[in-house]
Amino acid sequence: MGGNGFIPKILYALCAWCGTGGSETAAALWLKYPENVRPFRVVCTGALDPAYVLRALIEGADGMVVSGCHPGDCHYNLGNFRARRRLAVMKEVLNTLGLDGDRLWLRWVAHGEGKRLVDTAFEFDAHIRGKGPNPLVKRWDT
């Protein structure tokens, strides 16, 4: 996978209900995800403030992927709808300023979708390896 020894640091934000549930299902199915993907549990994708994502992308992460309940399935009814709006704004802000909003992914994963979670982790890992290191991480002047 990938040349020149670049192993990206990837954060995988998972909501406490479906995202983490998906990872439990993956575990039950003995599925493995890349070791450089670090799960990050949030109580709901709607509770993921842009500041957390930006902090990660500025201070060390090469990419961040967010998974939570499918729209309509939110444990708190509308958290993921709000998350989708926030994520759209985050990506648009990053893209407008030329900071590569594609280092941020949103993909819904239900409790039972263990394979989908693992596939997403592999797919995003390959996607970030293709992009190379996040230039913000090594900048001391942020």
């Binding site: 842009p50 930006l54 201070e59 509308l78 407008t96 300023l97 949103l106 900048r139």
Partner: protein
Amino acid sequence: MNVFVTKGEGRGNLVFRALLKGLMEKDVVKVALVCAEDPTGNSFVHVLTGDTSVVESSWPVPPVMPVQGARVVSKITRKGPVELPTAVVLRPCELRAMRELVKLNQVKLDGLLTISFDCPGVYPLQQYLSGDRSFMKASIDEAFGHFDLSGTRPLCQICHRFTGELADVEVGFLGAPDEGHYLIGHTRRGEEALKALGYQEEVDLERRVDAVQEVIKQRIEAREGYFKGEFGPKVVGVEALLTTLHVCINCHNCMRVCPICFCRECFFDSDALKVLPGNYLVRAERKGALRFLPDTLLFHLGRMNHMSTSCVSCGTCEDACPNDVPVSRLFAMVADKTQAIFDYEPGQDLDRPIPFIDYQDEELHDYEEPYIESTTHRPSSS
């Protein structure tokens, strides 16, 4: 909507003084919230007054915008609506910010009679304080009705929401013949106020509508051209953006003067960003060094995420910046894009909630990553 229009005499600040005085004398309003020159003649402040003599010597439309009017209205009405009918003169951007604050429960509109106008723009605050003040005062007064005033803030020159159509009473200069102006009542409250002043005559607004559309078209073109061609290349990309923010001293003035940033405590001033020395060391090690004060980029990007959908492009942040960071232009450029996602215009429609508390079941699928189930065999951990 029944538009009540009349043609008046004169342009400049005297129009507003006469209008306010008339409204107070006819008891339509008891109080006016209006800008006045401070006694030293250095700058302008908002004053709340029930005295017509103060109104007579006021500067309802000053050449600068030291404090965003929406903040002033919010200060007055956050705890409850005004007890006496009050007339407020606001620039279009102040009015939009104020209406945005209504949605955020920071302003109560009851009892307010809002007055707005075709805004010719304002001069940068620093330039006014250190420059030829009498020239700037005179040129603002002469600028009503045409839109070629030079030397105003860059954001004012590309503003395409410069009319007062959201106010109860709009004072329109564009398209008005013989150096006159239109008074347009956009709401029932506005129409009644004009009727109380004795205006009855309905005038055809066709000429004005065409003139306004023409300037809007020019301004939109100029705005797109400026962000794409002139300003964009200077700030877009990691290198360019960080270079732009190098001079930022992290004073958070831009946030403090912003009419939309109403939070009692900003996340970026909170304990969440106050960490133990060890944390800074780890970050310094990772990056090779760590800039202090830290979290400059985080602050600006974070604020864009939190409030750019409500940004009215008023430029107050840039006026407050001690180090000439083009904050307002950065924010306006980003805000144009983030507002376009939801087709949202801050301050336009009072019945439309702000994007972050609203949602549709089916929307924004372009921002979700589509999943195609892979058939590749993944190594299992057994």
